[in-house]
Symmetry: C2
Subunit: 458 residues, 2 copies
Amino acid sequence: MAIVRSRKVSLAPVLSISIPLALSLAWQPFVNGTQFPQVYASLAFSILAFVATLALIPRFSRAFVKIGLRGRDLLKKSEDDVPECMGLVAALVYICALVCFIPVPFSAAFISDPLTSRVNPEYAPHRQLAVYLAAILSVMIATILGLLDDLFDIRWRHKLPIPLVASVPLLLSYYAEQGNTHVVLPKPLAGWFGDFIDLGFFYYVYMAMLSTFTTNSINILAGINGVEVAQTIVISASIILNDLLFLPWPFTLKLGRIEISGFFGKALAQERHLFSLYFMMPLLAVSLGFAYHNKYPARAFPGDTLCYFSGMAFAVVAILGHFSKTLLLFFVPQAFNFILSAPQLFGLVPCPRHRLPKLRPDGYLDPSTAEIENPSGLTIFVLQVLNFFGLAKVKFSSDKRRGTTTNLTLLNFVLNKTGPIKESTLTNYVIVIQILSSAAGFAVRYGLAGLLYDGDRR
Amino acid sequence: MAIVRSRKVSLAPVLSISIPLALSLAWQPFVNGTQFPQVYASLAFSILAFVATLALIPRFSRAFVKIGLRGRDLLKKSEDDVPECMGLVAALVYICALVCFIPVPFSAAFISDPLTSRVNPEYAPHRQLAVYLAAILSVMIATILGLLDDLFDIRWRHKLPIPLVASVPLLLSYYAEQGNTHVVLPKPLAGWFGDFIDLGFFYYVYMAMLSTFTTNSINILAGINGVEVAQTIVISASIILNDLLFLPWPFTLKLGRIEISGFFGKALAQERHLFSLYFMMPLLAVSLGFAYHNKYPARAFPGDTLCYFSGMAFAVVAILGHFSKTLLLFFVPQAFNFILSAPQLFGLVPCPRHRLPKLRPDGYLDPSTAEIENPSGLTIFVLQVLNFFGLAKVKFSSDKRRGTTTNLTLLNFVLNKTGPIKESTLTNYVIVIQILSSAAGFAVRYGLAGLLYDGDRR
């Protein structure tokens, strides 16, 4: 059996910082009082989840390799076995954190009768509890399906609908609760159809499509060390930032306690974004813990499991938080990669087994290519368009019977533009693109959206 | 690679009976009207789950064997590979059925305002939905932990607490809802302490222990073809029968529509037992489907997954349905097996790797034995007591320094009593014991319990 390397974690300093930090955060509300003690608790859980992921991954590396969950790093000269599907560890820590968090927001919100210490059932936030549990259930199903995918190596075309299955509990709970299926219309359309339109059944189709997109789009922007988890980190951090914008910040107090009087849906929006924080903070935490072991040179591979559970978590918060359009703004690089890939995914252009970049003898990366034989007129046309816009480098023989094209992915596109770079540099470029995209997303959401939608949309 | 055999399923007749049956059941309430349309729907889902399990297991056999989920049948001369952990297929079908069932009981119960078609949120049964989702979540965690156990072959002592982890969502949801932690006291004690006693925290400990017991006790009454799933079948059928006793049956109508006026907790008991039916009917269904492939000679092994998810399902319905004492009556053979096994499980008597019966050359089974060397005084005493009561066959050398005992399991106990029998006969004996135990359980529950507890306890 080949060697299995793992990255060392010095637990002593990590624990000596993180445990006191988590405890002090969890105690903070009791000392100073705060409006959202549950956010502090969630942060404390997230810190522990980060440490758990960091510590557990190297401990399980050998066990994973032993049962066949292993892969070779195609962009390294080394023949070491790298444990595959280690996203499972992150997923289980994540689910554990979410499950242990159950009592925090829901029992604090119960109002007990001080005389009898009995709960008044009228005030019990069962609705939120049901939604929270349905969300965990969807993430769990995505995890188990991801694991099955990694174990049985399900074929690409068969696994596209997997996120649909995982979104069923979410959608059915949404339906069982007769969730809102109205969408706000942009101003120009509102004059014609009214401010809202009820999409009804199509809203469910939209939600199912969203979860399919978030899951698969991360899964196909993959192939170099750290790139999947880097997307998860930037996107979850962006969502957290967006959620924080919806919380009532102390600066309102500085205006002589003048409360910004409740604009439509404020309390509701706040509750939704709290909910989103409960899911995104631990996700960011386990992603960071995982990234330590997945960064160049990778000592653990994410497997499909990581993309599945994190993609599902994104879909869940966007659906239940009603900010799916904002979420899509953070997925622009993934959308770009998906659209660019479409000709290969849907068979217009030949798609080799792997489309990841090619390792040069000097350790730098070149874009990989696909061979084209007897292309149809449409294939030639599409590739020439892509070539014209610099999205691929395409070469045809003079009779157009044969040709090559760089594989149609964001990674190869970046390599086309930059020339040969190192794998770690390529990952960093993707991170920069993702961050710029999020920044642009915020600008669109809070700048341009005012032109299309009414109201204070902070 | 060794041969993988699977049992043929003639889908044509199965489908041509089951599909119309399921559809007609689901439509029944719309034609005739009935008090519990959701029970018909659950039955329809169960029939489909049965067919799905029946059909899917042989289709996945090779894939399971291929990734190493395989075992040899130690009580057969054949060297064929038998796919292991196939309980996973039953578990996934079960979860699928439970998830798809979500909208049935919960949206029908919503009361819409006929003018606006908007739901009055006051009437929304969110509490039940949250509980239902928490229950599925616990079953799912048990499934994923069972799968991990089968994959990584977790050591016996390490896996005992696994059901505790799986019961966390259940317990935390119970806590978040400030569930009832009171127990009814038997009459003799009621005079001293009152009719009820609030166990508080200890009620949670009790619930966690219950799930650990139901899960592990099935898992250790194992080793011969079909025996694990036979327990699941008899116990789930017993629970279903018990649940049916709590539904208001049409015979009340024959008494001139005199309604048996509401005795304490009637409506609540009815709701709880409906909930139990939703979980037990599909469990019985997938167990029957699985049993077809697991029966002698087994073409699929259950793995720990089957025991984990079904044991968890039993714990869930008993906890949320508040009939844990009744459940324990159905677990008497498992309790007997556990208590009998205790000296081996806890190290008093040597415990070999396998304790399953021994195959004789003529194809019949003998009890297996454990070797004892330099036993302590306590070990000798315990074994002599067991020997005296006929629970084990123990032999010591004259100086008591060496000895042998039949392994301390129900299976070996039966073999001690019956002499060499065939494997399939032994399974049938266990089934008979389980059925007799359930019958005795009903007698105790509805006969003797009246002596200890007040009230109409139907």
